[in-house]
């Protein structure tokens, strides 16, 4: 089973993301900010990271910079998931090494589509 690290300072958002991703067969690890996320990655690198931008202690962009410099830190697929929906923010995220970008609010369909983009989810064949 693949692991997804869900990083968001809102427990409600983490809960929604967990429910969606568990349905997509991911095992979930949660972190409340970038620093906690970094600690989780030092313990074990997940296959995917759903990453909020604005968080206390360490924000998502700074975390991403640290992650990509870690040994093996280029491997996890990082999907930003944030209310920051400006093209400038998206550009900065991609240059920092994000693989995909979700603009909040999000739903199950968007998460499934974006995880399909990064090659970590295959929807059932339409009947």
């Amino acid at each position: 089973m693949k692991t997804c690290l869900v990083v968001d300072d809102s427990s409600v958002t983490r809960k929604i993301a967990r429910r969606i991703l568990e349905e997509m067969n991911f095992q979930i690890v949660e972190a409340e900010d970038g620093e906690q996320a970094l600690e989780a990655c030092q313990r074990e690198l997940p296959e995917a990271i759903l990453l909020d931008w604005n968080m206390p202690v360490m924000d998502g962009l700074e975390f991403l910079g640290h992650l990509r410099r870690m040994p093996g830190g280029d491997r996890p697929k990082v999907v930003f998931c944030t209310t920051e929906n400006g093209i400038d923010h998206i550009g900065r995220a991609l240059r920092a090494g994000a693989n995909e970008y979700i603009m909040k609010p999000f739903d199950k369909d968007i998460v499934a589509d974006k995880f399909q983009e990064i090659g970590l989810y295959q929807p059932a064949e339409p009947v």
Partner: protein
């Protein structure tokens, strides 16, 4: 809504748009038509039916549009666009090397996501298509939908369905809360209102037809009729792409499935070994004709 109202709406939609509703679509009708009734200041579906019976064309158009507009998103189902990039276009680049033009028809273009997805695919291969004339025609039954397609304006929700983020950054511009596809991509797509139930031979012959997720709403005889007319509008070595839940199998042999490419079909008379697909054989023939 009385059973009589329901039957009237079923027959009305069948006659005007070909939409073939089964007997259990009360919820669908109510969810789509109640907003129209309210907007028109009517008390409900029954009063809406009265207006239809009285011959209100404004109400009739709104009812048809509301019932025939379907969900769509960029690169829907992915696979057809892989076929387009990996099978259809490579073959067309060879087969049409002499005339250097390709005609593509999105027969259920809806709000533009499908024709613009094809346009973006073509843009990505523009090096191979330098000097070619590429035509994408998007048609739909609904004028309202065509207007939306022309504008190329999408909500944040819509641009997050099926569209890779790099494509969003590359081909869209943010305007307030909405995202607009670039003028360059918009200019690649022409729009026309077409009802597939009626003659569409005036559109001419196409190399590639995408007719996805619209035939499922038609009854069997209507499907067969449309397939026959689509076949006449498809070049003998052309392609037809259908939706994931659609097929010609068991209905007609005017198209046949293209092996290994799910959802892709070729004209029934197409022979892969025929000279037309081999550019090397085709080119001298065209040259000889030009010299005549």
């Amino acid at each position: 809504m009385t059973p009589h109202d329901y039957e009237y709406l079923r027959k009305f939609l069948k006659d005007s748009s070909g939409l073939d509703l089964s007997a259990d679509k009360h919820y669908l009708i109510e969810s789509r038509l109640l907003p129209i009734a309210r907007k028109a200041g009517l008390s409900g579906i029954s009063e809406l039916v009265q207006k239809l019976k009285a011959g209100s064309t404004a109400i009739a158009n709104q009812v048809i549009e509301a019932m025939t507009t379907n969900e769509t998103f960029f690169f829907r189902d992915k696979v057809p666009f892989d076929h387009f990039r990996d099978a259809i276009m490579p073959e067309m680049l060879q087969a049409r090397a002499a005339r250097r033009s390709v005609r593509i028809w999105c027969a259920a273009g809806s709000t533009g996501q499908e024709p613009y997805s094809l346009a973006m695919c073509l843009k990505e291969m523009s090096a191979a298509l330098a000097g070619w004339r590429v035509e994408i025609l998007a048609t739909d039954l609904s004028l309202e939908v065509i207007e939306k397609s022309k504008a190329g304006l999408y909500s944040q929700f819509e641009v997050q369905r099926g569209l890779p983020i790099q494509m969003l950054v590359k081909y869209f511009k943010q305007t307030g809360e909405l995202w607009q596809i670039n003028p360059e991509i918009r200019a690649m797509v022409q729009h026309r209102q077409i009802n597939l139930l009626h003659d569409f031979s005036q559109l001419g012959v196409f190399d590639v037809i995408f007719c996805r997720n619209v035939l499922i709403y038609f009854d069997q005889d209507t499907k067969i009729d449309i397939f026959r007319r689509l076949a006449k509008s498809t070049d003998s070595d052309g392609f037809l792409a259908l939706g994931a839940a659609e097929t010609v199998v068991g209905l007609t042999d005017v198209f046949k499935p293209y092996a290994e490419r799910r959802g892709l079909y070729r004209p029934g008379g197409f022979n892969p070994a025929s000279t037309k697909t081999a550019a090397g054989v085709n080119a001298p023939k065209v040259a000889a004709m030009a010299g005549m």
